[in-house]
Symmetry: C2
Subunit: 237 residues, 2 copies
């Protein structure tokens, strides 16, 4: 599943500068560097799985990752998208429980693993890191609560429009085509972000295409009318 990658050094890691490890002190960085392991994950492969015991945290060096939770009937619900610089798995680690979510690579990834002991060591010794973790959790909680309201109150069409805008926000657009979302998701995956059945998602996408708000070519989605999509999502204004 995972093949170990060439050695990476946090000091030299340009990703670190816009990550949670940006302000970590030199000693902590050293500790991380000497204990971490770097792994490559092929597209689709699971990085960690709901229900298993956390042994450390994951820091995405390269690639895109979905974080999802599996419902009773086996249907997945994507709860977060992560990218290079993001850290994963720390929530379960601090609560000392099995993972409450799974993470899988949306494309080929390189992910560093920082062992539990090191993580807690940094949490204890670094002056700023606890506050960083607090802010990360705080941001995730806020987004989760917003998603709760959306799922409870908004129709599929609006949720889809907002999802597309969020994907654009998080992952950006293709080089050379600023309308094309830089992330490729299957219809199933898109449905499990929006929280609907795949067929409903397909039909709703077809609606947005018919209205010339978006265009699709296989998994590539282009946003043709940003304002229109914002409007379709019933956002601000």
């Amino acid at each position: 599943m995972t093949e170990s990658s060439e050695r990476l050094y946090c000091n030299a890691c340009e990703m670190r500068l816009n990550s949670a490890l940006k302000d970590v002190d030199t000693a902590s960085l050293e500790a991380i560097d000497t204990t971490k392991a770097c792994n490559a994950f092929k597209k689709g492969h699971v990085i960690f799985e709901e229900g298993s015991a956390p042994k450390g945290i994951f820091c995405i060096h390269d690639g895109k990752v979905k974080v999802y939770k599996t419902g009773d009937e086996g249907r997945d619900q994507i709860v977060r998208f992560a990218k290079a610089g993001d850290i994963l798995g720390y929530r379960s680690l601090v609560s000392g429980e099995p993972y409450s979510v799974s993470a899988a690579a949306l494309e080929d990834c390189v992910v560093c693993f920082i062992p539990q002991a090191t993580f807690f060591e940094v949490l204890k010794s670094d002056e700023h890191f606890p506050m960083t973790v607090i802010r990360l959790l705080s941001g995730e909680l806020q987004r989760a609560q917003k998603q709760i309201v959306n799922l409870a109150q908004k129709p599929v069409r609006e949720r889809l429009a907002e999802t597309l805008l969020i994907l654009r926000e998080v992952y950006g657009t293709d080089d050379g085509d600023s309308a094309a979302l830089a992330v490729k998701l299957s219809r199933d995956e898109l449905a499990s972000v929006v929280g609907t059945a795949t067929e409903t998602l397909v039909r709703t996408i077809a609606d947005l295409k018919r209205e010339n708000l978006i265009a699709t070519d296989k998994k590539k989605i282009r946003i043709l009318d940003l304002e229109g999509l914002i409007h379709a999502g019933n956002l601000q204004d």
Copy 2:
């Protein structure tokens, strides 16, 4: 709206012992005690409101509180229930943004207000408090993510069953009637926990009554068949 209550001392506060302030050191406790303000809130009154700027955190000394978010169409969605010993409003404080949720008293409450400066001071000086906050946020995030999956995948009936079980878990049952939930919610409020229309909620409650899983008398809800309700919620087994 709020009337200041008689002075309370954290040292002597029995609620503190099962709260986030349990392990706070003496100096911090002192700082909290000398800067905090205690207020009484009548049932229904708002403790803080989504969109306004946080000035500190709230510590519930007595009473039950709902935390909710208002959707675009003005419908509320309850995202959390709080009780004596719980602290509120710290999420917005640490992220330095306006409140992303509102809080209101479900019954007459006494709530202490700890100013921002004190909160951050304790966060900095107390050895354990940052970790406590991390764990609180972590727990809330986990519950929020579970709720996301429920809203996306479970029908109203199952969500209602689970909601009743959660209310029992959080607030317990009446003295002398271990089947009766200790919290009284309006149908509107119950609907805005479950995430459905009031009429649908009423009908679904009627269903559960017809099946002798619960009984109601005004706002009082009695759980007649715990196993049955667990089953109706499609939980474990």
